[in-house]
């Protein structure tokens, strides 16, 4: 399937990887923002627990995370069965599952970057917005969010890069179905198993680097523009 050229299968892996990574990143943003905000700003019972839980996918070998996902979200899994019954949503062995795996793996990076950024926001500015009649929600959108913009971009890039490179949890939870869950890392893994496929490995690796670097470059440009505005340059 993996040809010696960047054949259709490889292209498919690339397209899939980008889609999975984008979806994983974008879809985990709202929750990531919420969790980061909660961790940074609120004190509540279970604060430490949540904090630890978020970090988990980083500590565990990816395969274990993937296995846990399978146990939870697989068709036989507790949540998975419920999801399938109630909403007809099946994650395991679908590209959505690959996205979930990537999102989970990238989540600690996203949340940490966001949390750092949120903690750096001067609460005095949020107070000022409140005196001007802004609701919490408006304050978040018009003050907090723009001020954490650099952190948000950093988090997005980290998460996207991580999602692009994620392999262990993805293959364990979503397998490597061509066109469905066979992402670049899975393709690379496959190519690595076969002697003499180093060319394919190299091509795919370079491609995924190029994509990640492009994302990085965009984020840098955006972050620099924002910084220039705020700092007065």
């Amino acid at each position: 399937m993996i040809s010696d050229f960047l054949g259709p299968a490889e292209w498919e892996a690339v397209r899939l990887s980008v889609r999975v990574s984008l979806v994983a990143t974008i879809a985990s943003l709202p929750l990531g923002l919420f969790v980061a905000y909660a961790l940074a700003r609120w004190r509540f019972p279970g604060h430490g627990l949540l904090n630890g839980l978020v970090l988990l996918p980083l500590v565990l070998p990816p395969v274990v995370t993937g296995y846990l996902l399978l146990i939870l979200f697989g068709q036989q899994g507790v949540v998975g069965a419920w999801l399938a019954e109630t909403f007809g949503i099946v994650l395991a062995f679908r590209w959505t599952g690959a996205a979930v795996a990537a999102a989970v793996m990238a989540f600690p990076l996203l949340v940490r970057a966001l949390r750092l950024a949120i903690e750096a926001v001067d609460p005095g500015l949020e107070e000022a917005a409140a005196t001007l009649g802004a609701s919490r929600w408006r304050i978040f959108w018009t003050v907090t969010l723009p001020l954490i913009w650099p952190g948000l971009l950093a988090g997005i890039v980290l998460a996207f890069a991580k999602a692009m490179g994620e392999f262990g949890a993805t293959i364990t939870f979503a397998a490597a179905i061509p066109g469905e869950t066979l992402t670049i890392p899975s393709a690379i893994y496959g190519a690595l198993q076969v002697p003499g496929q180093d060319g394919v490995v190299l091509r795919l690796a370079v491609l995924s680097i190029v994509i990640a670097m492009a994302a990085l470059a965009v984020s840098e440009v955006l972050a620099r523009r924002a910084a220039r505005q705020v700092a007065g340059g």
Binding site: D122, L132, A134, T142, V143
Partner: protein, 348 residues
Amino acid sequence: MTLEVDLRHRLGDFQLEVAFAAPPGVTALYGPSGAGKTSVVNAVAGLLRPDAGRIAVGGEVLFDRAAGIDVPVRARRMGYVFQDGRLFPHLTVRRNLRYGGGAEGFDAVVSLLGIEGLLDRRPARLSGGEKQRVAIGRALLREPRLLLMDEPLASLDARRKAEILPYLDRLAREVRIPILYVSHAMEEVLRLATTLVMIEAGQLTDSGPIAEVLERHPVPGLVAPEGAITVTGTIRSFDARREAEVLTPLGPLWLAMVNGDVGDTAACLIDPRKVVLVRGEAVSSRNAVEVTVDALRMAGREVTVGLKAGEAQFSARMGIERAKPLDLAPGRRLIAILDPQPLLDGLP
């Protein structure tokens, strides 16, 4: 609409305990650095939750510890000019100004503050005073029912102050909203305030109509000139330059820069060193009083002359060489030219 404040709060070693009422018009919060002024303002804004007490505006309770009421900051509708600016760094001046609403009056406020040329800049490119002006504008445009101004003019130049002060003055009079105004500059306080709240080390020293408070505590934060007396009276009229004619026990005195209207009370200080005695027939000053020398006292090279004007008593002090040509003796009739200070001049 009146603001009523009664609060107790602990900040580290610092204990705040004040209660006062601020009627429409400007209420000055006056006290040395670290007295607790910002803390009081924060409590009114809702940014500091007092340990105990009650805060109400126009009868609406904003905070009542005992009753468990604590209106959220955003619902208090106050325009707060922070001591430390707090402009939104990511927004242009225009969007900072518009943040609290108020398209209405936008142009007027912008031109009052002289920030027309800055509307598309971000705060990082403003000077200190420009930031302060934008912060004032932002609070004004909120259309608040109460203005909180924590040293709003501290880094503005005299000309700019001279433009903004009358505006605030008018605002307080016309819109009839209370303005809580923190300032160290006595000129500003005297120019604007109708009510004065003096706090020191977290405790209320006094509060009430400015003239009465200043009468009880003559020159806050300053040692009054030796032998000075405070004279109070009722405002009878204003002249074209808004100097007030005040009926005092010493006779009518004309005071510059007095707040209030006809019928209100005004106070001034008579510094013996600034009283000029004249042996002669006529003087051109409006603040000349016919007096009789009551007593003479010498101290070093200075003479203190006790004087009587009708029932009222005061004194004049001068170098001995100045007294000689006057040929002073008890019972002699002279003209005294007073320099009544609405407690405005003479402050360092």
